[in-house]
């Protein structure tokens, strides 16, 4: 019965073919370092899931942001866990992205024919840093507020357009409700959308071209 339903669905979706292409393709034998990419992906999914859960209670307003975060942490069942996973996942994301990048650099995996995979990866890395920067402000605690104040001030040093960048980032001269609202918007809509596109391209390229083999001496 299950097979019949599966067959019926496959006639419509054609997923067995997809499964074969993506998962049953042959890849060179590689070592454990090659798990860094998928580990990053895993943490990214973790961030997505916990992030979505956090928005259920979080309110991006200076009046309520702190209280809602506190509420999540102390009142909601497993709220501490969801927030903890998201918080530490952010750090893990950075670490794993960097390690993943270092593996690629040392194995020369960015070379032909994987230049575009590399470039989408680097841009994704920048976006991950953007996640870290924007997400940091959202709890609206002292550390968030002042680190962001300083962080945006640093951007101001950029020649010529610096003050302008500062104003765009803060949505005005000061760090205010406007800043919090736009950081939130960027953190939950803008960056995830961009990252999703980039990662899809990145993964498409990985599947299409295949993962690089471990280079041997002389190669």
């Amino acid at each position: 019965m299950a097979t019949r339903i599966g067959n019926w669905l496959d006639e419509r979706f054609g997923w067995r073919r997809v499964w074969e292409v993506i998962f049953l393709r042959k890849v060179p034998k590689v070592n454990w370092l090659y798990t860094l990419g998928s580990a990053t992906l895993f943490v990214g999914i973790n961030q997505m899931v916990t992030g979505i859960l956090l928005t259920i209670y979080y309110v991006p307003s200076p009046d309520q942001a702190y209280d809602s975060v506190q509420y999540i942490t102390t009142q909601v069942p497993a709220g501490w866990l969801i927030r903890g996973l998201h918080h530490w996942g952010a750090s893990a994301m950075i670490v794993l992205s960097v390690l993943h990048m270092l593996r690629v650099i040392f194995y020369g995996a960015y070379k032909y024919p994987r230049e575009m995979t590399w470039i989408t990866g680097i841009i994704s890395g920048i976006i991950v840093i953007g996640f870290g920067f924007t997400g940091y402000l959202l709890p609206w605690d002292q550390k968030a507020f002042w680190a962001t104040t300083v962080g945006t001030r640093i951007a101001e040093v950029t020649p010529i357009i610096g003050p302008w960048i500062l104003r765009i980032m803060r949505g005005g001269e000061e760090l205010t409700a406007v800043t919090l609202a736009r950081f939130f918007g960027v953190h939950v809509w803008f960056l995830p959308a961009t990252l999703a596109v980039l990662i899809l391209i990145h993964l498409y390229l990985v599947v299409r071209i295949g993962i690089s083999a471990v280079p041997k001496r002389g190669e």
Partner: protein, 159 residues
């Protein structure tokens, strides 16, 4: 032989991978459900004992005004409500807590020491020291709170 072993190994890995996936899924999913459903299961706050202040502050035989703030919480929004209560004791042991809200139209009554009565400035309602009706349009005596004294502190039941 080697082929069989290889197939067993692959089967095991496949199974283990699905198992790990399920484990992580549950590890995230179960808390997520609790997280989403949780607040719906929380009970409404019942009445609780609200601390007014030290019982020693009540002046003997004179209704003493106690004002305290209680926090009513809905989610993370805290509404601060003010509770104002006149506490009266004749002997320092038995206390009576009376609301300072006129039973007529809800104005705040005040104690007029000279006349020894509560006076409502809105429509000249007058209550005696124990909150009983003296004159004016008031429909019933002043509301009372259940009161207890613990460790020299006054508590009223409210919320």
């Amino acid at each position: 032989m080697g082929e069989d072993k290889e197939i067993n190994r692959r089967n095991f890995m496949s199974l283990a991978t699905w198992a790990i996936g399920a484990l992580i899924g549950a590890g995230l999913g179960i808390p997520a459900i609790a997280y989403i459903v949780g607040p719906a299961l929380q009970r409404l706050e019942a009445q609780e004992w609200i601390r007014l202040g030290s019982a020693a502050k009540v002046e003997l035989g004179t209704p003493t005004l106690f004002k305290t703030k209680i926090e009513r919480k809905t989610g993370w929004i805290v509404n601060e409500d003010e509770i104002t209560v006149y506490v009266l004791t004749e002997d320092g042991r038995d206390f009576v807590a009376m609301s300072n809200i006129c039973t007529h139209l809800g104005c705040r009554i005040r104690w007029v020491a000279d006349s020894g009565q509560f006076f409502c400035p809105c429509h000249n309602g007058v209550f005696d020291k124990d909150g009983g009706i003296v004159s004016g349009p008031v429909p019933r005596p002043l509301d009372r709170f259940e009161l207890k004294v613990e460790d020299g502190q006054l508590y009223i039941l409210g919320g």
